[in-house]
């Protein structure tokens, strides 16, 4: 009776405007979007934004505290590390790794996983059983520990890291895609299309595929947050990003030796990770709700503009 979606022919632009308004209305989503924009900007224009070269050592200015502390200066806003490198500049440059690693891993894993899921869900039958059994088995692998082993043996590098991190994610995409395809195939309108004689290709493209984009996009955003955390953890353990590249996790690992004397070395890169992940998580959880009317109905059910729960 009460329907969420707009009507009429000018839908598309109105719908886009509607989404924009909904993002602006939700502080959490707004925060998420802003964080993401900021991160992308920092990554793209790192050299311009960062005041100093992140790898420029200045042994005369070692372990300087941030601006607010005694001995701090506005030259090194967030202080310097044990080699006199500017912490703020390193964090800005660290954005590049923190964003490219998830971009690469999630893209790789997303494409592969979605393909497998489509195959599994659409073909059904034996192929489906076999694929899903394999995925189940792989899912029971001890994740991080295995990643560590691989990295230790193969040797850490950008690409091994990206690939190792995508090893688990593709399965999540495969499972989700398969589930979506299966439930979309069950939809009555899909059967209705089959009954008017639509070909399998048309069914797939016209009736099933449109159901996949929103959830898969949401998953991609969510998994990016996971990848940022995993990359940071692996870099912290010394098996991720290697110097001279910079990464927030790596910076925390280096700062760890000075945890008592120069805590800012771990505080700020850590905050960078936390804010990035939180922002992306907020965006993902908002997307999940926004893209799914049922979910949004149930969330904040007491809020004024929510539809009802009763049965009529």
């Amino acid at each position: 009776m009460s329907s969420a979606r707009p009507t009429g022919n000018r839908d598309r632009s109105r719908r886009a405007a509607g989404w924009a308004i909904r993002i602006l209305r939700d502080p959490a989503a707004l925060f998420g979007i802003l964080v993401l924009l900021l991160l992308v900007a920092a990554a793209l224009f790192a050299s311009t934004i960062a005041p100093l070269d992140p790898n420029k050592q200045d042994l005369g200015a070692r372990l300087l505290p941030p601006f607010y502390a005694e001995g701090g200066s506005s030259e090194h806003v967030l202080g310097t590390d044990q080699l006199g490198r500017d912490v703020f500049s390193r964090i800005i440059h660290g954005t590049r790794i923190s964003l490219t690693i998830p971009l690469v891993s999630v893209t790789l894993a997303g494409i592969f996983g979605t393909a497998v899921g489509l195959l599994s869900g659409y073909s059904g039958g034996r192929a489906d059983t076999v694929i899903m059994r394999i995925v189940d088995t792989l899912f029971s692998f001890p994740g991080l520990l295995l990643a560590l082993t691989i990295l230790a043996v193969v040797g850490p590098s950008f690409w091994t890291l990206a690939i190792v991190l995508s090893l688990r994610i593709w399965m999540v995409f495969a499972r989700l895609t398969r589930g979506l395809v299966l439930s979309a195939r069950e939809a009555e309108y899909v059967e209705a299309a089959e009954l008017v004689g639509a070909s399998p290709t048309r069914i797939m493209m016209r009736h099933i595929a449109p159901n996949l984009t929103a959830p898969l996009l949401t998953l991609a955003v969510l998994e990016s947050a996971h990848v940022i955390l995993s990359e940071a953890a692996l870099s912290f353990l010394g098996l991720g990003i290697q110097p001279p590249q910079t990464s927030w996790g790596l910076d925390v690992a280096i700062g760890r030796q000075y945890v008592f004397s120069a805590p800012w070395l771990i505080i700020f890169p850590g905050i960078a990770i936390a804010v990035a992940v939180l922002g992306i998580n907020l965006l993902a959880s908002w997307l999940r709700v926004a893209a799914d009317p049922e979910e949004s109905a149930k969330r904040f059910a007491a809020a004024a503009d929510a539809p009802t729960g009763w049965s009529e």
Binding site: M1, S2, A301, D305, P307, T308, W310, S311, E312
Partner: protein, 337 residues
């Protein structure tokens, strides 16, 4: 009007709930009563507000719905008092709803779901409650109650599930049963069994019944008094015979005309053209007027549910007495009383 205390009295009830694009006026100025031992029906199509009324009669309106006016009284006391409503639900009023499978917790045994209310409201020990639960199952026609009590809802067939739901509803010996579309999810032979069970329980236990349904056939046999609901309002009320044989409101008549009957072969059903109004907008005047063949300029102002004859009320400026021949006569079956 007699000042006798009614068992249930709903007085000028107004319920709204927010929805996208406005506030839905789900129930508008609805009044009716149910007395001891009486069986009252509320007939309406989907969206007419009948389930909302059923909930309100239990002192429950789910968020974000709100009662914005009127009263729901049980034995003269307001069920809008949450504490009182909580005391009354179970031992005084109970409910049977449409889908028995959905109505019971899938992961608790029948026994648990039957005894939990007894332990709370009847002050029974666990053991006594189990014995009573077994008796009740037997009473609603479930063989081998001892074994059945340990089973889960999914282990029963649809008809058996509805029997169990009825048994659960009866577990604290209530005075009134609210049955909200109790047979809609069931097959016709099972429906007959359940309707039969409800009416025999009613006789044996002296239960009052508030039966809410869209099915005129179901109320015809089960109810003494009827209220016809349209777009959140009661448009006509009276005894079952009066409403079925001499409907005054054009909607009631039209509803009868559009219901195919098994016993009479009609050439053509009299459909009601158009759609019910959108309750997010304020309905000015008679809500049925846009679909009504008799509507005139007068219908732009709201007719009141005036009492036209004893115990009978109809909210219409042009009740069908005046032009009976037009509708009932030509159908040749509404007038065969």
């Amino acid at each position: 009007m007699s000042r006798r205390e009614h068992l249930l009295e709903v007085r000028n009830l107004e319920v709204v709930y927010p929805a996208r694009g406005g506030t839905v006026q789900a129930v508008r100025d609805v009044s009716f009563t149910v007395d001891e031992g009486e069986s009252t029906g509320i007939v309406g199509e989907s969206g007419s507000g009948k389930s909302t009324i059923a909930r309100a009669a239990l002192g429950l309106v789910e968020l974000p719905g709100r009662i914005v006016g009127g009263e729901v009284l049980w034995r003269g006391r307001s069920l809008r008092n949450k504490k009182y409503a909580r005391q009354v639900r179970g031992p005084e009023i109970s409910v049977v709803s449409q889908d028995p499978m959905a109505s019971m917790s899938p992961i608790l045994t029948i026994g648990t779901q039957m005894t939990e209310v007894m332990v709370r409201h009847l002050d029974l020990g666990k053991k006594e409650a189990v014995v009573r639960a077994g008796d009740l199952l037997e009473k609603v026609g479930i063989p081998d109650p001892g074994r059945r009590l340990g089973q889960y809802p999914f282990e029963f067939s649809g008809g058996m599930q509805q029997r169990v739901v009825i048994a659960i509803a009866l577990s604290c010996d209530p005075k009134m049963l609210i049955a909200d579309e109790p047979t809609t999810a069931l097959d016709v032979t099972t429906q007959a069994q359940i309707l039969d069970l409800i009416s025999s329980l009613r006789r044996d236990l002296g239960l009052s019944l508030l039966l809410i349904t869209h099915d005129l056939g179901v109320v015809a046999g089960a109810c003494d008094l009827l209220n016809v609901l349209y777009a959140g309002e009661i448009v006509e009320s009276g005894t079952a015979d009066e409403l079925f044989y001499r409907p005054h409101h054009p909607y009631t008549a039209a509803l009868l005309g559009s219901t195919p009957r098994l016993d009479v072969k009609a050439e053509r059903l009299t459909a009601i053209e158009g759609q019910p109004p959108d309750l997010r907008q304020v309905v000015a005047g008679c809500s049925f007027a846009p679909r009504c063949p008799y509507a005139t300029g007068r219908c732009e102002s709201s007719p009141t549910l005036g009492t036209s004859s004893a115990g009978r009320a109809c909210a219409c400026w042009h009740p069908l007495d005046s032009h009976q021949g037009n509708l009932t006569g030509s159908e040749g079956r509404l007038g065969h009383a």
